[in-house]
Symmetry: C2
Subunit: 318 residues, 2 copies
């Protein structure tokens, strides 16, 4: 089959479409013929050599896709069924093997590209802001990096839950996009100190920055606040004052969706389909595709993330 192969280790520009062996199915897996693959920041980090795939996973990039079942393996699925899939890797390819628990239905009225654009962000946002830290109606959430794929999804899901949404972003243009997706409080981190603006106000923070923001995030958390860190774009080390955690009844959480067990992923997929798919189908949550590109242009797709110039998702189609 055709797949994107990295020809120089650590160089995200060195990606070529080449012939590789088709994956073989393990028990409980189906083979999906990929029609569209979502592009995520984690793909870029992996291509740069800083996010090795978990043991046993494909070394081909790609954490989400949509397409048709080409081989149902030992499952009761039907060949030809149209599905989305949450992947541990392998999405930038013609075929990918997927544990059945990580298959998702195509939302009503959605194309393959629209489906592939939404799986990783929807599962990431729902599992973290709801399943992990219990965002609820009437609470305030701060979403760092509001203009990215995760950010725009988080804004919309949080608004659908009934939360007040604050976002940070690095330009007035990105903040305008956040606003158009429902964000209530807009903070340009290049011009404003989010911690001062939101002192003791945030019930939940969705963090992608890590170390350099820890102290400020703890300052912005309200009593009983919960922070969930899903990215470390600023680095992983920080000094922490555990007395602040105690005095404010704070909890700090960290996760990576990719490294969770297949059982946990299946539960995340189940709850995401149950809760977020209706939001997609009735338009409360909109799909924001920045650009679709042919699979062969994977390097160009990752370069969009390097430049950090886009809002929304990039999708590779076949």
């Amino acid at each position: 089959m055709k797949a994107i192969v990295q020809t120089t280790e650590g160089d995200p520009a060195a990606l070529e479409l080449q012939e590789v062996p088709k994956p073989t199915l393990q028990p409980g897996e189906v083979l999906v013929k990929v029609a569209a693959s979502g592009v995520n920041r984690a793909d870029l980090t992996q291509a740069e050599g800083n996010y090795p795939p978990p043991k046993g996973a494909s070394d081909i990039l790609g954490l989400e896709c949509a397409g048709e079942i080409a081989d149902a393996g030992d499952t009761n699925r039907e060949v030809g069924e149209k599905v989305g899939a949450l992947l541990v890797g392998g999405g930038y390819a013609e075929y990918v093997a997927v544990p059945e628990g990580q298959l998702l239905p195509i939302p009503e009225g959605f194309s393959f590209a629209e489906t592939a654009a939404v799986i990783e962000t929807a599962c990431t946002v729902w599992s973290n802001i709801v399943m992990e830290v219990g965002l609820s109606k009437g609470e305030t959430i701060l979403i760092h990096g509001g203009g990215g794929g995760i950010g725009l999804m988080a804004i919309q899901i949080a608004k659908a839950i009934g939360a007040t949404v604050a976002v940070t972003a690095g330009s007035a243009e990105k903040l305008e996009v956040c606003k158009s997706y429902g964000a209530d409080i807009l903070i340009n981190y290049k011009e404003q100190d989010f911690a001062e603006e939101l002192k003791n106000q945030c019930d939940v923070i969705l963090d992608i920055v890590g170390g350099p923001y820890l102290k400020k995030n703890m300052f912005a958390l309200a009593k009983g606040g919960r922070m969930i860190t899903i990215g470390l774009q600023g680095g992983n080390k920080a000094e922490i004052n555990m007395g602040v955690m105690m005095m404010k009844d704070i909890s700090l959480h960290g996760t990576t969706l990719r490294r969770r067990s297949p059982e946990v992923k299946a539960e995340i997929v189940r709850q995401t389909v149950k809760n977020v798919w209706p939001m997609l189908e009735d338009g409360r949550v909109k799909n924001h595709i920045h650009e679709t590109l042919p699979l062969a242009d994977a390097a160009k797709a990752l370069n969009h993330l390097v430049e950090s110039s886009h809002t929304g998702k990039v999708v590779l189609v076949q």
Copy 2:
């Protein structure tokens, strides 16, 4: 009324029984005539000047008591009803004002002293290891300071839940007491490295040390592990690697029971009575009183904590 008054600020030895004004009741409060008051490490910290009472609270020491209702205020309680009470302060006195939601029934067959010995530890342990971080059957919990009042309560509640219990303590004698209360894994922190012994094995950690143990605690946490910090005996500052939190799906929690809102305290009291009182009444959780002393000997009682020589609780009786 008589109450313990601190005659030299910051000196836990300078405690005298003196005449002070009786507390006046706020709406929703009852007046309890105190028969017995539990002694907690937080009392010592407060007497040393390092744990000021929350705004509006009594500056008299004492976070738990048992006795009889002397004035029901605007509530429907009966004068003469025997009760326990979770306090924000004021327990080392003849009378104390208590929000009705913080009253607890006397467990069947318990004396006032036995009741006063158990309230703060039971509410602290249940609210933290169950309500905050969800310890469940089959999981492993590490309890630091297993030989103290909180430690012995935590061992027994965790065993009653069906968890495997590891403890740290600083002497073979204390570890023997922990074992007699059900602890499965005994670690002398002066001779062993708990992090090496329990690497990646702890689903829950109940922490009273803070900063100096953070890195080791994160090393000992299993994937999906949760740590709850309720004391900072070693200090509040630490360096944290947030990457470890993400890779292991860890969460870190901090609380102080005392600073929680009356509404949260009432819910904690309700759930503790519902879940822990039956364990006390059928003997699954035993009450461990180290010594009872007259109220006038409050300084001597706190000195037991300075020396850290005891296991179990000290109770002041009138």
